[in-house]
Symmetry: C2
Subunit: 353 residues, 2 copies
DNA sequence: ATTAAAATTGAAATCGGTTTCAGATTGAAC
DNA sequence: GTTCAATCTGAAACCGATTTCAATTTTAAT
């Protein structure tokens, strides 16, 4: 059956190594794990045999035996979204440094998939699960789903990006209020008073928090909120495009648009361009997430960054310390920061009448 | 130790189910796998107990026992690149349909990481490995690396996106020549004769194949190749930007630019814009990969698509059938197709002197 | 050279499944 | 009511590691 291509050469085990070294499997295991002393000469002999066969211990057997796989399962809404891919890679790198590996599953926004992914990761006995985005927000309304997550938490620690009261999960949340605060102060500092908000669903907590802060800051500066300036939708370019179309038809146009993310902002840019207006001379655009898209479109977008590297590190740290039974703060915050590029500028004079 | 949050409630096993059902573990296993008959009433009783506890068999034990994990390891160069994320998600979906799950690792273009990932996947006893991009091309020059891959192939089937002679891997390749052929015919059909090629490294096979075809088609139409029209680099926007800057300074400007991918094309668009030229009126731009970026930039890019869904399906099918020992063709091809958008148009009159 | 203490070592149990093999039931046919 | 075949079932071995426990070998001290 030895097929040159698919070749399944019999895999070599710890026993094979033991036999060749003339020791017991226990001893080989000891040099593998380093958890116990082995006489120097034997240790070297065993090591060289391991080298020679390029032996890699079976992780399944290992995991079965010591009930830790050193693996963290990650469920992301969709890695095709650069926000999630950036976060995932940051997690992967951080996990590696912590001696863990990661396993990714995409829920693609479908609740059934997400539940299936949870089950799969549970079966694979990951040490912890990180859930990025996804249907987390449904926990608030969907009781069956909440029960599911609660049941998962009973066996495996779960870390979610976002806040959650209905299940005993750990949270790493972006300080959305601070993010919006930075955005508003930035725009108002540039002289903007007519500020629109584009994209996002209010039922999504992160969006709702942004909106709250948006209103708060308007109030703080004594600016009357204009209901027509807030157009919700989803998180894609199309939403940004259509919402902006609507907004640019208003008699009293805003001088700045805050997009819920870079995708929505790219749609906004397209709409503005089609209206023969210029960014940032006629209208400023600012967005959240600072994905590479912000750097790709014209003009480059001013966007709120989360420092994905730190964000991932925090997620992994939370997950690993929970997995190792360390008791940790159950809510941690990520601080956002504005990266200025070319899409924001002073409010046009004409608007400052 | 029962912590409400990290709660490690003792995991329930097949033996617990067996005891409660008053049968042996073997019988429970039989209803789990369905590989053998079990009397109807017992089967139902066991099923209901499994339900009741929401029991999920330990995948480690299962994998250890039947030496198949129903998992396919995927090593991608970088999922942050939409080409890879699209392909990965397509694989994930296809794998799911085939009863497999996938495990992703990113090599981030580092050879050492890639080897570490290979080892990790091997330890996890994945049934097959799919390698997307990455340092595959180094196999041609790096003998140690080639030996590594060969050694992996000895125990686990490997599928790579690209062609490879130095190791017994399975290949799924994009028909690059066909892709370039479509591009050239498209441009020439629009009256372009001065066609530039931007980005990519010649040592990378897929790039080299495109270049070959580019020359071939020029020759076919009796167009003299202009060395200044081919500017290599890497695969990012910066490359496209700089290469295009160089090209637009030429006395005899091209009327069309072929970018190695959508990223490079976005850089090209920026350069063209800064030169106050218009796409496609003054110059056409076309690229490869048809990622969502093509739809995001202005104008939207005409780009060569690979039908990621089929591409992923093909990769998974190759991987699973290799894993299951079926003998399959070892090279399969993906057929590209042009998706026309707004960045290509007729060559400007002035150039048709 | 003894002896107690310290360092190594291997046998065997364990992790949680699957599968073989032989024995026990059940059913159909007569 | 037998009889023989077809179904079911459980005990035990196995997958490949780790770890406990007791035994053995070394080393140090007297």
């Amino acid at each position: 059956m030895e097929n040159e291509r698919t070749g399944v050469g019999k895999t070599i085990t710890i026993y094979d190594i033991a036999k060749e070294a003339g020791v017991s499997a226990s001893t080989v295991s000891r040099v593998l794990t380093g958890n116990a002393a082995v006489r120097q000469d034997k240790k070297e002999r065993i090591r060289s045999i391991i080298q020679k066969y390029n032996f890699k211990p079976n992780a399944l057997a290992k995991g079965l035996s010591d009930t830790s796989t050193k693996t963290i399962g990650i469920i992301a809404a969709d890695v095709r979204n650069p926000y999630y891919s950036a976060l995932f890679v940051a997690c992967e790198v951080a996990a590696e440094k912590a001696g863990y590996s990661v396993s990714l599953a995409n829920s693609l926004g479908e609740k059934e998939r997400e539940q299936a992914q949870l089950d799969l990761l549970l079966q694979q006995r990951v040490d912890a699960i990180i859930q990025m985005g996804g249907r987390v927000d449904d926990l608030i309304t969907d009781d069956a789903y909440a029960e599911k997550v609660r049941s998962v938490c009973r066996t495996t620690p779960v870390v979610v990006t976002g806040k959650l009261d209905k299940a005993p999960v750990h949270s790493v949340v972006i300080d959305e209020a601070m993010g919006m605060n930075l955005v508003m102060e930035h725009l108002i500092g540039l002289g903007h008073k007519k500020i629109a908000l584009v994209g996002g669903e209010m039922r999504v907590n992160s969006t709702y928090l942004k909106y709250q802060k948006y209103r708060e800051i308007l109030a703080k500066y004594g600016i009357q909120e204009n209901g027509e300036y807030v157009v919700n939708g989803t998180y894609d370019p199309e939403t940004g495009y259509e919402a902006t179309n609507k907004i640019l038809e208003l008699k009293d146009r805003p001088t700045a648009i805050i997009a819920i993310n870079d995708f929505a902002a790219s749609g906004a840019l397209r709409s503005i361009r089609e209206h023969r207006l210029h960014v940032p001379e006629d209208i400023s655009v600012i967005s959240f997430d600072n994905t590479y898209i912000a750097d790709l479109v014209m003009p480059k977008l001013t966007s709120v960054d989360y420092n994905y590297e730190d964000y991932g590190k925090l997620l992994i740290e939370t997950a690993t310390s929970a997995a190792e039974g360390k008791d940790t703060a159950n809510v941690r915050m990520v601080q956002p920061e504005i990266v200025e590029r070319d899409s924001t500028g002073p409010a046009p004079r004409s608007s400052r009448k």
